[in-house]
Subunit: 326 residues, 2 copies
């Protein structure tokens, strides 16, 4: 057996696989893998495609070697104790797949599977912006809004494995409807598509508003990237849409701070690249809505898109520890 | 040394002291103490009064015996690791008091001090409506709204010892101002005084509204007890004020369920005596605002006002265990 750890990340649009030496972490530049393979998925790729392609990536990296353990980040709800995928919200053909058992059989090594938010929390906690914290909430804001807890130095998964759904903290009972069936959730106000939609509604309602944003978006549907560019150039429709999203995240961080009082909030996802104004609004709202006695430290994530993959390394190493204890 | 455990509860209006045999719990009727002493505090009682009176109660109960350990529930923020009171929001003269050290010296036994919400959570977890749960949020709703976590079978206190402030989860960003400096907190919408104030505002605004509530309250300022009585008798102003409070608690439970996913919510305080309509509204709102995948079980607390005192027994027993391990 080698001292290799294999880390896999099944995302909505990408598949990533990497190998690292047991105990190694990322370098300052964010790299540190022995080798890494990434595939951009074609439109219409399903669960079967994901599973077959990931195995090819893994076998290419391993080149005949057997890893000591395998850690997996999956982009959707997971039954952690059993290593089964519940479903993917983006990719059909994942319902009830026993992914840990399949990989264990194919690769000959103990395998641990968790969702990408928990894996991201683990990665940032071990190697990134959460190092040394006994507790943190990792928040990721992009097309959706997710989160993962570290409490007492370990992932907190909750009674149904559903803990960390920061995107579905309620911010405004009269706010927009959310995909979860609720109303006024963080995700319905602060995800990239939600902010873009709010700006588009304003543009449609007022033909004289948002001149710069209209230029930036051109014939295309407004996106969060358009908002960022237009806001920097002084567009008030774009700036207001971003501020509404930033405030929603900040209010929910204030609530979470009062409720759970973690040592740090680590915010990642596309939003890390939003401008300074977005960040300042978010932090002001968080401080304003946390109680004076509650310390609220909000920092940007450091590992970028690789946070779940580094978390998968920690999942794999955790397997090794559990085995040696048992 | 005896096998006696001494439990003390320093409340805003009452002081309670009790002794139990180590390992004993409450009987079905809610009793189970070897002996119990309670004092209703006179107006103007300060920290010095509390400390002197509680020592008298303790010495009376102990009658010369030395307890094995002392557990303390305190009605205000506490520095748990150091056993110091930070302050009382209701009683002057408690700032920075080293209560654990004082009691340890006076009573000759190891002493553990925690706030009343954490103590209540411990009590309900060990002996009440939270038995057998690996995780729960204990919520207490009366003149204020507080909460305490059990996560992984132990109290979760957070990075600054401030975890569990359920009363300061945000429900409505445009809601009423809160004592914490925030806006639209659960406590600002659902505490007894908040609901009474909302009803009083309606009565003042509309002289034809709330006939029954006016009769029930008479010349007195409207209270939550008046609301309960008037609502049962069909008063719509009272019913709406209660429903607004119940919905606020339910929305915040939904957020907390999505964020932390505890196995159970245990709701105590004066609200346990609110009518069935209040309870039904609360539970409907909680289910509506939790994600479909998240189980939300909301139950009434069982130990009533004695939950913190039984939690103090667990705090004392925890001290004994920690000492024998160290």
């Amino acid at each position: 057996m080698s001292d290799l750890v294999l880390a896999l990340d099944y995302g909505g649009t990408k598949l990533s696989a990497a190998i690292a030496s047991e105990g190694a972490g990322p370098t300052v530049s964010g790299d540190g893998w022995l080798a890494l393979e990434r595939v951009q998925k074609p439109a219409g790729a399903d669960g079967a495609f994901d599973r077959a392609t990931m195995l090819q990536l893994a076998n290419k990296l391993l080149a005949g070697r057997t890893p000591k353990a395998v850690g997996v980040s999956f982009g959707g709800p997971v039954d952690f104790p059993n290593g089964e995928v519940r479903l993917s919200h983006h990719v059909p053909g994942w319902e009830g797949q026993p992914l840990a058992a399949q990989l264990q059989e194919a690769l000959g090594a103990p395998t641990t599977v968790d969702n990408d938010a928990n894996a991201g929390a683990l990665g940032e906690h071990a190697y990134g912006a959460g190092r040394g914290q006994e507790s943190l909430l990792y928040i990721t804001v992009s097309t959706g809004v997710g989160g993962g807890w570290i409490l007492g130095g370990r992932v907190w998964r909750g009674a149904d494995g559903m803990a960390g759904e920061f995107g579905h903290v309620k911010v405004d009972p009269f706010g927009p409807e959310c995909v979860c069936g609720g109303r006024g959730c963080v995700e319905a106000l602060a995800s990239g598509p939600a902010m873009a939609r709010a700006a588009a509604v304003r543009l449609a309602a007022d033909p004289s508003a948002g001149t710069v944003l209209r230029q930036v978006a051109g014939q295309d549907e407004v996106t969060a990237v358009h908002l960022g560019a237009a806001a920097v150039a002084g567009d008030t429709v774009a700036a207001e849409a971003l501020a509404t999203g930033a405030r929603a995240i900040g209010i929910a961080i204030g609530s979470a701070a009062n409720l759970v009082n973690p040592g740090r909030f680590v915010v990642g996802g596309g939003v890390v690249k939003a401008g300074e104004a977005f960040w300042a609004t978010l932090i002001d709202a968080a401080s304003e809505h946390a109680m004076p006695e509650v310390n609220v430290e909000v920092v940007r994530a450091r590992l970028g898109d690789d946070a779940p993959l580094w978390g998968a390394v920690k999942l794999a190493e955790g397997t090794v520890v559990r085995r040696s204890v048992a």
